[in-house]
Amino acid sequence: MSTLAELYQSVIVEHDRSPRNYRALAAPSHHAEGRNPLCGDEVSVELRVGAGGMIEEIAFQGHGCAISRASASMMTAALQGKSVGEARELFDRFHALVTGTAAEGDIGKLAVFRGVAEYPMRVKCATLAWHAMKTALDPGAQ
């Protein structure tokens, strides 16, 4: 069995089946949508950022493959209560993890996405929600 098949049997399948924070926010301060034109997958990410730059709430909606859904779900879980600066930093580290471009630091539960690096065609699936989150925080930056 390949790394990817192992990947599918782990926590990713669980998040795909029962995604966390899959809802619309009542009063988001930031939001953005991500689309993968290759497969038609779509994700919408909403955040409520407090006065001190803390992410008080983050949620997502959309349709996509297991990798993109699980990645969106685990992203929302990881960013809840983090600062906007920490979110940007985690984006960079997650991106490095799934593209295999940097030695991984401590990235917690997100390390389950390490295997994606062996499947370059799936990197866009794993990073779809992350790019939407980044665009929501820094519109026009990407």
Partner: protein, 417 residues
């Protein structure tokens, strides 16, 4: 898993058509993918190449390479002869009346862009409409839009077939052109192109047929179809990438302005004005893909040497066997279920996203396509954002289809909700 009827027809096919012998001619089919024997079921995207084609391309570069229509030396003369021999081979392959009606292009996409540019845009009236179908590939939609025409789709029925009553109504409105796939790249439907051409003729509407998916499966006769333009790509019919064909009626080719300017397409050039070579050279600016044409010649020659009727029966058998195997798997939904179908099958597996499915199959060495297959409007009409697609060629086997079925069952166990 095989029904008695399928077993019987399988024995028949084996007698008439030796798939193992054919497979031995394709070197890539004995390679491994992710450590397992390659199961290549993405033939609608591109086909694999037989030894004859690989050898022809290699031979061209090793001992025949020169530019065409340029030199008086023997090597250039031989390259020119090879290029023109390929043109005659193509004319024979599609039943053209003359090889002067065969224009070499990069592929189907360029052929359609050429017609969009030289036939539609450059000879355009206001508010032109190009009639297409709901199942068209983006390559048979976007070029018309870029040429300034509005695209209107002939709708499809539930089984993925064209609504011919709607087609007639829409043709009666006098569009500039009807542009239709001979065979759908996503759902395999073989469209009744001869019938459509007949209706179109009544209303004076010219017809372009996108034959990209037909060329590897059907015998093509452009004169019997009575179309105006026919195009296909070399790489989908066991030839190289980067070479394709536009066939057009002589009357169109002589009245159409050039597509691109450059060397080889001119009669006389001055700074005041330039006159152009006659068709087909008028549409072949610059040094073309000569090696590609020799490879295409070898591919068509290889295909024509097969017993085409036996191949057609074998491919129907593969198609029906795939339908049977997929239908038996709970949660599989097929798209394209009409009787007139090439061995191309789009499907979804309940609870498993097509991209995940394709990745899990890939881990078993099985190549299928996942996504919208460059047919977003079709997928919108089918009510799904993406599908998986298995598409077969004459070198595929029922054993490979069994592996596909087993892969689907494993994928559902891993991911099924």
């Amino acid at each position: 898993m095989i029904a008695p009827a399928a077993q019987a027809s399988s024995r028949l096919s084996r007698r008439a058509f030796d798939v193992d012998a054919v497979r031995r001619e394709f070197p890539i089919l004995s390679t491994l993918s992710r450590g397992q024997p390659l199961v290549y079921l993405d033939n609608a995207a591109t086909s694999q190449k037989p030894e004859d084609v690989i050898a022809a391309i290699s031979r061209y570069y090793r001992s025949e390479n020169a530019n065409i229509h340029r030199g008086v030396y023997q090597l250039s003369e031989r390259a020119t002869l090879a290029w023109e021999a390929a043109r005659r081979r193509v004319a024979h392959f599609i039943g053209a009346g003359s090889s002067d009606e065969v224009v070499f292009v990069r592929g189907t996409t360029e052929a359609i862009n050429l017609v969009a540019s030289s036939f539609v845009r450059r000879q355009r009236a206001a508010a032109d409409v190009v009639l297409v179908t709901e199942m068209e590939h983006h390559a048979n939609i976007v070029p018309w839009q870029l040429a300034g025409a509005a695209t209107r789709p002939i709708p499809i029925t539930g089984a993925g077939q064209l609504d011919l009553d709607a087609a007639e109504r829409m043709l009666a409105e006098g569009p500039r052109l009807l542009a239709v796939a001979h065979v759908s790249n996503a759902i395999g439907t073989i469209n009744p192109v001869a019938e459509l051409c007949q209706i179109a003729r009544r209303y004076g509407v010219p017809v372009l047929v996108d034959g990209a998916q037909a060329a590897p499966h059907l015998a093509i006769d452009v004169q019997a179809l009575d179309c105006d333009f026919y195009c296909f790509s070399g790489h989908k019919v066991f030839g190289p990438t980067g070479i394709g064909v536009l066939w057009a009626r002589q009357e169109h080719l002589t009245s159409m302005p050039p597509y691109q300017g450059g060397g080889d397409m001119i009669d006389e050039v001055t700074f005041e004005r330039t006159t152009f070579a006659p068709a087909p050279r008028r549409f072949e600016a610059g040094t073309p893909h000569i090696a590609g044409a020799t490879g295409l010649d070898a591919a068509l020659s290889w295909l024509e040497a097969q017993d085409r009727d036996a191949v057609a029966r074998y491919e129907e058998h593969l198609r029906d066997y795939a339908t049977e195997v997929l239908t038996e798997i709970p949660g599989v939904r097929l798209f394209g279920t009409g009787t007139e179908r090439a061995p191309v099958q789009a499907f979804v597996l309940d609870g498993v996203h097509p991209h995940d499915l394709a990745s899990l199959l890939d881990a078993d060495g099985i190549c299928v396509r996942a996504g919208h297959h460059c047919t977003q409007p079709l997928h919108r009409a089918l009510g799904v954002s993406s599908t998986a697609r298995a598409s077969f060629a004459l070198y595929n086997t029922t054993a490979e289809i069994d592996l596909l079925g087993e892969g689907l069952i494993r994928a559902r166990k891993v991911l099924g909700r």
